[in-house]
């Protein structure tokens, strides 16, 4: 369904170019839940922006359902890493979540039901009339998640969506994502820094190298489909997988670091 081929992105900045992503190739099947991990600055956000058609890649292609992505496709929702800036400060929490549905001309009653359900599922049913800037960081992030969930997209891109919430909420939200994924058959690409999370959530984990970025590893997560926070995380296979990913990330971070630095120094000259 989603196919990324030889994706390269070079940011043109005064004083030299920054090659954020060098060469990424991978596929997502319809209804897959894939986690993406990689060192800070490895180009995960960049990749998501290219996939969602918000930014033009320098070379390579992104295809969705067989057709090239040139602009933001309908039926795709993105949860941005900069959650604070992705909410409209002039709208209440409720209006923020409702807006994409309103724009899709979803009937009022159905809209209300979707919004209520989404807000409830992220534990924010008590603040619909608040404005985003009246909320804590974690609450803001959950509003952004609720907006994506209420939208019922076919493809969901999430960029570290749980970074600002507490451990318990995080666990709840992880289960929420898996539930939605299973119920609605949505295809999910989920960026996270939490290795346990990537293994717990994903059917596959893609590990990116550090910048300039390539796919370092594409790991199948062969855990049972039914997962729960206590038992799944206690499975020996879970431990194995998380250790494996951890090692990969360490390798990613240590490995090409020198190469990266020299490359950027070169670019800066």
């Amino acid at each position: 369904m989603l196919s990324v081929r030889g994706l390269q992105k070079i940011y043109k900045v005064p004083g030299g170019d920054v090659e954020a992503v060098r060469d990424l190739t991978f596929d997502l099947a319809e209804g897959e839940l894939v986690c993406l991990v990689g060192p800070s600055g490895s180009g995960k956000t960049t990749l998501l922006k290219c996939i969602s058609g918000l930014m033009e890649q320098t070379s390579g292609t992104v295809e969705l359902n067989g057709s090239k992505v040139t602009g933001p496709p309908k039926s795709m929702a993105v949860v941005f890493q900069e959650y604070g800036r992705s909410l409209f400060p002039w709208m209440t929490v409720r209006a923020n979540v409702e807006l994409p549905l309103k724009n899709q001309k979803v009937p009022k009653a159905e809209r209300a039901a979707l919004v209520d359900a989404a807000l409830k599922s992220v534990g924010l049913d008590h603040v619909p009339k608040s404005y985003p800037w009246q909320l804590s960081g974690g609450m803001q992030q959950r509003v952004a998640i609720a907006r994506a969930v209420a939208y019922r997209p076919q493809v969901l891109l999430m960029d570290e969506p749980f970074a600002a919430v507490d451990a318990q909420t995080r666990a709840d939200l992880e289960d929420l994502i898996r539930t939605i994924w299973k119920q609605l058959g949505v295809t999910i690409l989920f960026v996270t820094h939490d290795i346990d999370e990537s293994v717990y959530l994903g059917e596959r984990v893609i590990v990116l190298s550090s910048s300039p970025t390539v796919v370092q590893e594409d790991l199948k997560i062969d855990l049972p489909a039914e997962r729960d926070q206590l038992n799944t995380r206690a499975l020996p296979r879970f431990m194995e997988l998380r250790s494996h990913v951890y090692a990969e990330i360490q390798r990613a971070k240590l490995g090409p670091v020198t190469e990266q630095i020299t490359a950027q120094r070169r670019a800066a000259q």
């Binding site: 795709m76 993105v78 941005f80 900069e82 800036r85 909410l87 002039w90 807006l99 800037w133 907006r147």
Partner: protein
């Protein structure tokens, strides 16, 4: 803030300035320099009565129409120009050209093209009051937050919905800055528009007073202008607080002035 404190803030500095002015003009015999008491008397006798209905109200009517169009046009053009780079490149030099033309030479031209009527006077008001709104809107549109913009795009919010739900609110703080400027500039141009091809109006009357050496009356006319400006500012503040309440919350601006 208590109403009393609010009133105190409202009148303190003006009263202080009037006292200073009174003290400075106390011994003055200069014909052109007004004195507070004389001015207050003149203000009353000059503007309360027929003149209010014959000169002030029609002027205010034209001002209202002019400001409405200046603001509406400024916003609409600003949104278009700000979000379309080729349009901006095409129009910017031309607009800058017109922006620099002084009203005293622009008015005869408008007279020629539009005629001698209220339409011409309204056009003069628009020709000056549009710029702050237009420029602020253009600059605001150019600077909208990139993450918010991406959010809109990714949820397929485009066209009119994008303007309505994203661009307009996002730019509203800057639009408001422009509108506030436009109010006083509109008032100034209302005066200038009545300096030509006119026979009534607040601006016409002020100029008549000036030419006929009715100096206290002239100053009283200027005070009327100031008071109208103040009135507009109060209305504006009321509107702004409602339109920008989210912004003031976001920026942690406490308003109680």
């Amino acid at each position: 803030m208590s109403p009393l404190k609010r009133i105190a803030y409202f009148v303190s500095l003006p009263i202080l300035l009037i006292i200073v002015w009174w003290a400075l003009s106390f011994g003055s015999t200069n014909f052109f320099v007004p004195k507070p008491i004389e001015l207050a008397q003149t203000l009353w006798s000059t503007w309360i009565g027929d003149r209010f209905f014959d000169d002030v109200l029609p002027s205010l009517g034209r001002l209202t129409v002019g400001l409405f169009f200046a603001i509406a046009l400024g916003i609409v053009l600003g949104l278009l120009i700000g979000s379309t780079r080729w349009l901006r490149n095409l129009l910017e030099p031309l607009l800058e050209f017109f922006r620099a033309i002084p009203p005293p030479v622009l008015v005869p031209l408008l007279m020629l093209l539009i005629g001698i009527n209220d339409g011409m006077k309204v056009a003069v008001i628009i020709s000056g009051a549009i710029w702050p709104v237009l420029l602020n809107t253009v600059e605001g549109v150019r600077a909208v937050d990139s993450v918010l913009n991406d959010s809109c795009r990714s949820y397929g919010i485009a066209g009119f919905a994008r303007i309505r739900y994203f661009v307009l609110p996002a730019v509203s703080p800057q639009i408001m800055a422009g509108v506030r400027q436009s109010l006083s500039i509109g008032l100034i141009l209302m005066v200038i528009s009545e300096m030509f091809a006119s026979s009534s109006g607040l601006g016409f009357t002020i100029v008549q007073f000036q030419r006929n050496f009715a100096i206290p009356e002239m100053w009283s006319g200027i005070v009327v202008l100031g008071l109208i400006g103040l009135g507009l500012a109060l209305i504006f503040q009321f509107v702004e607080r409602r339109v920008l309440h989210w912004y003031h919350g976001l920026k942690e601006i406490t308003h109680d002035s």
